[in-house]
């Protein structure tokens, strides 16, 4: 299924095997199987209610799957609770801790680490500052979330998720709450960050243009199923069905940037 395999030798990081999930009889995930390669930037694209956020939450361990398995780096996640998965998660509305400063937010994952693995306070401070600098918000450490802009909150959320050094980064509608202009800059910036840090990233979006512009591959979802997974170009060239073609065409006008 993986079309990206042309560069060869990339270790498989995330594997979904027949994942199913329903809420009170309503099917949210319907037999999803796919493989996401190491270093890949994958978009989960679909209309609201298609199950993309549920799939992301299942990957993070925030939802239990009914049947099927999620395998990360060769290890089944079935028995691994969310807190031990070491997955970076950026929430739709950032979910920053409102009563903590930006620096404390970013430090959180380091401060709650088990005693044996916890860094000394001085080391944590240094790491936090380095992350804030990396996100280009180095001078905001002392502010509270309500005192900074939406785009800055987004960067704090990302810094906080990256603090625990995840190899898998999950982003739920990361640009949903931002205005168009900020969104544009952050897209480019986030993609660069992904390449630079050597992460495997999966992000949820309902915006076709966003998926086209940022992702290596796009998984198009509809009613709890993954209808098609492929590179943006191949999806345009060979849509699996009318739904994929129509859904992608809505995003055509702003799609020049993928070249």
């Amino acid at each position: 299924m993986a079309d990206r395999g042309t560069d060869g030798g990339a270790a498989v990081t995330v594997e979904l095997r027949g994942v199913r999930k329903s809420f009170d009889g309503v099917i949210a995930l319907d037999d999803i199987s796919m493989t996401i390669a190491d270093g890949e930037f994958l978009a989960l694209l679909g209309p609201s209610g298609s199950g993309k956020t549920t799939l992301l939450r299942a990957l993070a361990g925030l939802e239990f799957v009914d049947t099927g398995d999620i395998v990360v780096a060769g290890r089944s996640m079935a028995e691994v609770p969310a807190r031990q998965r070491g997955v970076g998660f950026v929430f739709q509305h950032y979910a920053l801790f409102r009563h903590m400063t930006v620096a404390r937010n970013v430090a959180f994952g380091l401060e709650v680490a088990p005693r044996g693995r916890r860094l000394p306070a001085k080391e944590i401070r240094k790491r936090v500052q380095a992350l804030l600098d990396l996100m280009e918000i180095g001078d905001l450490g002392g502010r509270y979330p309500e005192q900074i802009s939406g785009g800055q909150r987004q960067r704090v959320a990302l810094a906080r998720a990256l603090a625990i050094e995840p190899s898998l980064l999950l982003l739920d509608e990361p640009f949903g709450a931002l205005d168009a202009k900020v969104r544009k800059t952050l897209r480019v910036w986030l993609r660069q960050m992904h390449d630079r840090l050597g992460l495997t990233s999966i992000f949820v979006t309902h915006d076709q243009a966003e998926a086209m512009e940022m992702a290596d591959r796009i998984a198009v979802m509809q009613a709890g199923k993954v209808v098609q997974v492929n590179t943006p170009q191949r999806l345009i060239a060979e849509p699996a069905n009318a739904f994929v073609r129509e859904f992608l065409n809505e995003g055509r006008p702003t799609e020049q940037s993928i070249g």
Binding site: A60, G61, L62, A82, R83, Q84, R85, G86, V87, G88, F89, F91, Q92, H93, A95, L96, F97, R98, H99, F108, G109, V112, A113, E146, R160, A161, A163, I164
Partner: protein
């Protein structure tokens, strides 16, 4: 100025407006302020010496101690249980959830006398468990445990009721974020859940405490009125009043009123803090 743009039907004359304002102020003064003034003037009618004497009277001291004991047990208990209930209701969808909400609010809609009576019916000499308790030599009704049970039941809704809407409004995203960052349940609770509701919680605890110390009806039913043993402050007020001990009665009443005023003051400060926080979040 503004009245000019209103339709004639809602326009009032200056006299009507003033009359309404004075009527409101008058009623407020008559029903709220005057009783408060009466309590303190009656208590201090013959100066401070009788008040001091009344306060050191052994039965009164016992009543104050008992009230503090009852509050010291029921307030923490209701804080923990209320917090747990609010968290479950705010975070999870489960069968019987709305029934639980209704049950939590029940003590508000039921007369306090009933809240006392149920314990008599359960644990009294002729109650369901009365004979069993009698054989074991345990006393609940007409003793301190009964007072605590009645107070717990009456004051249960305060903490839960304050926290449920607050937790629902805040949602669980921050808690989930904490979990994905590696926090365990208690790390999440102490670092995220509790700080996020701290002002609301304090507010609920305060109201709970005010009611726990001031409750009369439920406590009167289970007390048995043994002076110096099962009399809380409100019951002691009534007893002294019936003895024509005006100074004594009004002294304790004054003490309870001071507690109410203190509660009001702290509540006002908290409301201002909560308002400021939520206002800033919008």
């Amino acid at each position: 100025m503004r009245a000019a743009v209103l339709p004639a039907a809602v326009r009032e004359t200056r006299t009507t407006r003033l009359a309404l304002i004075w009527l409101t102020l008058g009623l407020l003064g008559l029903f709220l302020l005057l009783p408060l003034v009466v309590v303190f003037t009656e208590a201090l009618a013959r100066g401070f010496a009788p008040v001091a004497a009344a306060l050191t009277e052994p039965d009164t001291v016992a009543a104050i101690q008992l009230t503090l004991l009852v509050a010291a047990v029921s307030v923490p208990l209701n804080t923990v249980c209320g917090m747990a209930a609010a968290w479950c209701i705010g975070r999870f969808r489960f069968r019987g959830r709305s029934l639980l909400i209704t049950l939590i609010e029940l003590p508000f809609s039921v007369s306090p006398v009933i809240s006392g009576l149920v314990w008599v019916l359960l644990f009294g000499a002729n109650g369901w468990f009365g004979p069993v308790l009698d054989r074991l030599g345990l006393r609940i009704i007409f003793a301190v445990p009964g007072l605590i049970l009645a107070t717990v039941l009456v004051t249960f809704p305060f903490v839960a009721r304050t926290l449920i809407p607050l937790m629902q409004q805040q949602g669980s995203a921050e808690e989930e974020a904490a979990i994905t960052l590696g926090a365990g349940f208690w790390q999440m609770f102490w670092r995220i859940t509790l700080p996020n509701v701290r002002w609301g919680l304090l507010y609920g605890v305060l109201l709970c405490n005010a009611r726990a110390m001031g409750e009369f009806g439920a406590v009167a039913v289970v007390s048995g009125h043994v002076r110096g043993q099962t009399m809380t402050m409100p019951l002691q007020v009534e007893a002294l009043f019936n003895d024509y001990d005006w100074i004594g009665a009004f002294t304790i009443a004054g003490l309870l009123s001071l507690l109410a005023l203190l509660t009001l003051a702290v509540k006002a400060v908290l409301e201002w803090r909560i308002g400021e926080r939520t206002g800033a979040l919008l």
